[in-house]
Amino acid sequence: MKELALHILDIAENSIRAGASLIEIIVDEDGERDRITIEIRDNGCGMDQDTLSRVLDPFFTTKDVRRVGMGLSLFRRAAEGTGGHFYIDSTPDSGTTVRAVFGYSHIDRQPMGDMASTVSGLLLSHGEIDIFYKHIIGSDEFVFDTRDIRIVLEDTPITSPEVIQFITTMIREKKNLE
């Protein structure tokens, strides 16, 4: 994938397929410790130990259209290729957590990319799901939470074009809602 934001989109789609009602995406760019940590946590159906032990194998998938499932193994390889590491854990009926740590300054580390497009793309096609997205860059913290947005919107759908535009701008410019 050309951007880390595309890996995040890919893994979040897994969460949606697992029936998650909340997806938490936390990105921590820590230049001082030379690492970027990406954590994607969901409250979907989770996996049992047997499935979990096979999930990083690209030739294992729970989908029935193909015999490969590459997203997690590609994400892990991307992280490890920059001197980082990868972690996944899951509990049935509780959810799954994926954490990928990248070497911030490593030459093979992809750019962060377009998180606004990733988050608004997820929302637009799955407007009933809540997304909590926190992005830390050094000492600055940006938080986007669909639950806060929904409170203000009342019965107006979060997928209305004007709202999606607002959200895209908010995330692109990393402006916290005040």
Binding site: S120, L124, P161, M170, K175, L177, E178
Partner: protein, 127 residues
């Protein structure tokens, strides 16, 4: 730069309400962009962006956009499936930002299949 306040969001809410009231009838077309790992790697997100932008620019109100996972034809990604009214679904392949806009305007809005980009209609493969 200006802050983004709750008040701004309230105004957006009012705008969205007014736009919804102007909409003529419910959606009669659905475009599904395939967002499996293969699709995302091939550029499905950019195709989705171009589609959403075109919907906004042309004020299209009758089309629903959704995503699904891998359709099993990874070498033809990015792909989209268009369902227009009661017609059989049409699978479009090898898409880019330009093609999806034509598909939106000609097929999803007007009902005319864009044959040059179509792979299959219903279960019939285009020859």
């Amino acid at each position: 730069m200006a802050k983004m306040t709750i008040e701004d969001l309230r105004k957006i809410r009012e705008q969205a309400k007014r736009s919804r009231n102007l909409r003529e009838g419910e959606g009669n077309a659905r475009i599904t962009i395939h967002m499996g790992t293969c699709g995302i790697a091939a550029g499905a997100r950019e195709v989705m962006d171009a589609l959403l932008k075109a919907i906004d620019e042309h004020a299209v109100r009758s089309v629903l956009v959704t995503t699904s996972g891998c359709a099993g034809l990874c070498s033809h990604e990015p792909m989209a499936t268009v369902e227009y009214a009661d017609s059989p679904p049409v699978k479009y392949v090898n898409l880019d930002s330009n093609k999806i806009v034509r598909i939106l305007l000609e097929h999803a809005v007007e009902g005319n299949v864009v044959k040059e980009f179509a792979f299959a209609i219903g279960s019939e493969k285009m020859s």
